[in-house]
C-alpha cells in the first residue's frame, strides 16, 4: 500500500512539475487597452516599469508633425525599457539582438482610451541559441504581462 502511495505521489508530483514547466501562450504581440487617458496611462506604465525593476532609457515621440499630415492623434510615444546588465550581456553575446535592444513599448491614444503594445520578448528568444538565456526572455514576458495587469487594474 505504501509503495502504491509512493508511486501515486511521484506521478502527481511529476504532473505538477510538468504543468509548472509548460510555456504560457506565446502571442507575438502583447497589447492592453485602458480607459485611462493618455497621461494617466503613461504615468501608470512608467510607475509599473520601475516597480518591476526596469529602467526607462528614453521616451520617444513618434507623433511630431503627424497631426499636420492628418493623423488623428498627437499622443504617441515609444518607451524604451531595460535592465542595464541584461541588455549589455545580451548584446555582447548575441549581436543579432543589437537591432532590437532595448525593448520598446508603444503607447498611443485612441479617442478617450489608451492602447499599449509591445513585441512579446519571446520573439527575441527565437533569435538566440543558448537555452539558458531564453529563461531571461521568459521572465521579461512574465513582467510585461504583470505591467499590463497593473494598467488594467488601474481601470477598476
Amino acid at each position: 500500500m505504501k509503495s502504491l502511495m509512493k508511486i501515486f505521489i511521484r506521478y502527481s508530483a511529476s504532473l505538477l512539475m510538468l504543468a509548472v514547466a509548460l510555456p504560457s501562450m506565446a502571442n507575438d504581440l502583447l497589447m492592453v487597452r485602458t480607459q485611462q487617458t493618455f497621461p494617466e496611462a503613461m504615468l501608470t506604465l512608467q510607475t509599473s516599469i520601475k516597480d518591476h525593476g526596469y529602467e526607462i532609457t528614453r521616451v520617444q515621440r513618434i507623433d511630431i508633425g503627424l497631426t499636420g499630415m492628418g493623423y488623428k492623434t498627437d499622443k504617441y510615444r515609444v518607451v524604451f525599457v531595460g535592465k542595464p546588465k541584461e541588455i549589455q550581456y545580451l548584446v555582447d553575446k548575441y549581436p543579432v539582438l543589437a537591432a532590437y535592444m532595448p525593448p520598446k513599448i508603444s503607447i498611443f491614444a485612441e479617442h478617450d482610451e489608451t492602447v499599449l503594445v509591445t513585441a512579446n520578448p519571446m520573439v527575441y528568444a527565437e533569435m538566440i541559441t543558448d537555452e539558458k538565456d531564453k529563461v531571461l526572455f521568459r521572465r521579461w514576458e512574465s513582467d510585461v504581462y504583470s505591467v499590463f495587469d497593473d494598467i488594467r487594474a488601474a481601470d477598476d
Partner: protein, 347 residues
Amino acid sequence: MKKIIFFFVLLFSMNAYSAPHGDELFAKHCSSCHGKDGKGGVGVPLAMPSFLNSVSDEFLKKTIRLGRPGRIMPSFSTLSDAQLNAVVRHIRSWSDKQAPAEDSTVVKGDKKHGEKLFASRCAQCHGADGKGGKGTGVTFSRKRDLPIIAPALNNAGFLAAASDVMLRETISHGREGTPMVSMLDAGMSKKDIDDVVAYVRSMEAQAEKLEVSLNKNDDEPAILVADSPYGMDETVENLKQAITDQNFTLIRTDYLDHGLVPTGKENKKQVVLHFCNFGFLFEALAIDPRVGMFLPCRVTVMERDGKVQLSTINPKRLSKLFNNHELDESCDAMYEVYSSLLEDATL
C-alpha cells in the same frame, strides 16, 4: 498518513484553483481588441446579440484557435482545450440565448451563379475576391462609425471556422447592428443564397494561396547586416550621408546603452542612428499604428574585435509579427530602404 492526505488535499485544491477562468483569459488576451465587455474596438463586437445568436461555439473555438491569417486576429494555438472552452463560455455569458448548434451540412449550389450574385450584391463591402473591407480594424486605419469592417471571406481561418449553414444563415438574415443586411429581405431567393454560399466556399483554394504568400517570409533572418570596410567613425558618417541621400531625416545619434548607464560611461563602440521619413511614417501608422514600436527607423553600428558591422531589424520578418497583410507592402519597401542604406554606407 495525515501528511499524505494533507498533500493530496493541497494538490487538488491547487488544481481547482488553477482551473482556467474565462474572464481572466479574455481580459489578458482578447480585451485589448474586442473591448473589456466584448463591445468591440479593433476587433469584432462579440457581445452583439446578432453575432452571438448566429455563431456556434465551434465557430468561436476554431476562430480563436486558427485566427485570421493576415487580418490581425492572431492564432491562439497554444491555449489548452480547457482554456479555450473557458474563454468561449465567458463570451457566451453575454447572451441569455443558447448557442446555435454546429451544423456541418454541406450547402449545394451553383458557384458560377453565386459568383455573379456576389459581384453584384456582396463585393461592394467584401471586395471583388472576398478579401474583405479596406483597413484591418486597427484603430486609425478606418472610420470608427461602423461597428465592424466587412470580414475577409477568402481567409483560411474564416473558411475553416464558418460552416456552410452559418454562411447561409448570415447571408439570409444579416447581422443587426452591422452593415450586413438580410439578403432574403433584399430580394435574393433561398437558391440564390445557396449559390453564393457555394461560391464563398470555393474561395478555399484562393485562401490557401494567400496563406502561402503570408508565410513567404518565415525563413527571413531576424536582422539585415553588413560588414563595413571602414572604421567606426567613417562608417557612421557614411551612414548619415546615406540616410540623407534616401530622403530620410536624421533624428539623433546616440549610444545603444544610452539611459542604461551614466552619461559619459556609454559604450562608444555601439552607436545607433535614428532617422525618419514622415510621409512614410504616416502611411505606416495609418495602416497599423502598432508598428510604432519599431519606429523611428534605426541602424546600429557596432565595432567588435576591430571589425565594424551595421545591423537593422528585418522588416520582412516583422511583418509576420503584426499578422496584417496590408503592412506587407510597407515592410517590403522598408526592407529595400534598409538594404540600400547598408549597401551605400559600406560601399
